[in-house]
Symmetry: C2
Subunit: 324 residues, 2 copies
């Protein structure tokens, strides 16, 4: 059995071997730039781990793993244009380093490259993998569209938000595991259970990310806190607060949401106090825990030896470690 | 044997049957809008005609034909963002009717939909079709990148320009025919000959389009003339003129290319006069004729009855009719 770390290392090596033409350099250079930094490579590692639950021949899942990582980076390249994000992994985004047009077209070439890699699977699982890949890719686009739509809407329900998170983040993690499982020869039921594990852990992960934006220990948290609060992002924390707040607490919350000029730190501090009054932190922790437990319950149902899934259990613990 | 017209009609019907989810509407509505107008559907019709040369079961090529039309419209949706084109088929472009972000993401969903349709082929030709589709799609991106790169370059050679036209326009026509042929069961040699026919006719078509921008009869020409001249587009006409012009003729040509303020009609008229002096019209006609003849020569080499390829011959004559 490979460990998560071993899978990630294997992906690093294989990504370096992806060959891209030299010209036109404005098309292919941004793709190289995007694939260069040693990211966490979570999704392709999950493809390999998913395969490894059912087969010792993990190498057969490498083309699909690389395809998924290239696809994921294509979505990041285009998301950065749409969200006007200037930085990505501590470097300029492609649309900043080059131009938005170049980021658009390089992204297009990148999604086609992902399909080109998928074509290398060729085994009996190809059509099921291809179909799941397409279905998932469309869902990721749907998630991004809902996320953009929500920016200008004020009536987002918990259900709406969870649906968006599922599409934008969770299904790609889920599909990575299931694609690996299919290539590894899993039966349908086991492949679906791995998918459900990935879907639940994906939602838990995003909810935890939203939680950490407010409650992380700044000494150990890698990025700036409070961005979601400053931008009024309709996370589950804000949606729950809007649902629970009444009287003067509600008035103050709405005041901060509508304020056009404010002191960044003051807004973060005041909204955090409101969240504390409403016990939003506990609600959030409970929600993350529920999804985490639902994920683990799926693993228990898979018919294989415990060692075969121990690495996935460790993976989910590692993901959830930050607020346990 | 189906006629071009019959193929086009079949495509119209099948495109209407493409099912897209209702939500998120900002993702799927632009795709419906883009596929709605009854365009010429040249590429999918070529898939069907290419198949029909080798098989009477044209219906087996329909998923690939639709995939190619959806892919082509994806490139148009993204090209319109990059080129800031406000209109497409006499209606607002998607990025104008909605927003650039929506056109970007809908385009992304559209290319995934194209692959979803390709998955329906499933026959023994699938992997060869899939591979040619990927290769061609990347070339189309390369062509668009070169076209954008050329805008800011002044050293474009005839060879550069022809290479760009081949990538941006010709290979998709060529691949449409070859994909149809592969699905229809063509042998490798015949499929390659159809590809070469398509590639040559595609280049001829684009060169003719450039020619018509200057020399079309305005009474029968569907669009505004002179746009390439006004925007200094480095078409073969301009590249040839820059190569041939000397002395005061060259000075005047450079004057118009460098002029920042000018009367549109005067610039068109004066540059046309320079082209006339340099016999650019004859050079262009000759070039179009050469590619057209090279295309027809490919058809002659295909081993099948004359009736099997008569419709392709008529198609090429129809395309070339405008300046013959």
């Amino acid at each position: 059995m490979l460990t998560l770390k071993e899978c990630q290392d294997l992906i690093h090596v294989c990504l370096k071997e992806v060959s891209l033409p030299e010209f036109p350099s404005n098309l292919y250079e941004p793709i190289r730039y995007m694939l260069e930094p040693e990211g966490k490579r979570i999704r392709p590692a999950l493809v390999l781990l998913g395969c490894n639950v059912f087969s010792d021949e993990v190498s057969q899942a490498i083309p699909a793993a690389i395809a998924i990582e290239v696809f994921h980076n294509f979505t990041l390249m285009h998301d950065d244009i749409m969200d006007k994000s200037l930085m990505r992994r501590n470097r300029h985004s492609v649309h900043v380093k080059w131009t938005p047009n170049i980021a658009l077209l390089s992204g297009d070439a990148m999604v086609i490259k992902a399909y080109e890699m998928l074509a290398e699977i060729k085994g009996p699982s190809f059509f099921r993998v291809f179909s799941l890949f397409n279905e998932t890719a469309l869902k990721v686009c749907e998630g991004q569209q809902y996320d953009m739509d929500f920016e200008s809407r004020t009536d987002i329900s918990e259900e709406d938000y969870l649906h968006m998170v599922e599409l934008k983040t969770a299904v790609l993690l889920a599909a990575s595991l299931k694609i690996g499982a299919l290539i590894g020869g899993a039966d349908n039921n086991s492949a679906d259970l791995l998918y459900e594990f990935g879907r639940n852990i994906g939602i838990a992960f995003q909810l935890q990310d939203d939680f950490l934006d407010v409650y992380a220990n700044p000494l150990t948290f890698g990025k700036e806190k409070g961005n979601d609060i400053v931008s009024n992002k309709k996370t589950l924390l804000l949606i729950q607060a809007l649902k629970l707040a009444t009287g003067p607490v509600r008035d103050e919350l709405l005041h901060w949401l509508n304020a056009e000029c404010f002191d960044r730190n003051e807004k973060i501090e005041r909204i955090k106090l409101i969240y504390d009054q409403l016990h939003i932190d506990e609600l959030s922790r409970a929600r993350v825990k529920t999804y985490h437990e639902q994920a683990l319950a799926m693993l228990d149902k898979i018919s294989c030896t415990t060692t075969r899934i121990s690495e996935l259990r460790e993976f989910s613990d590692m993901l959830m470690n930050r607020i346990k």
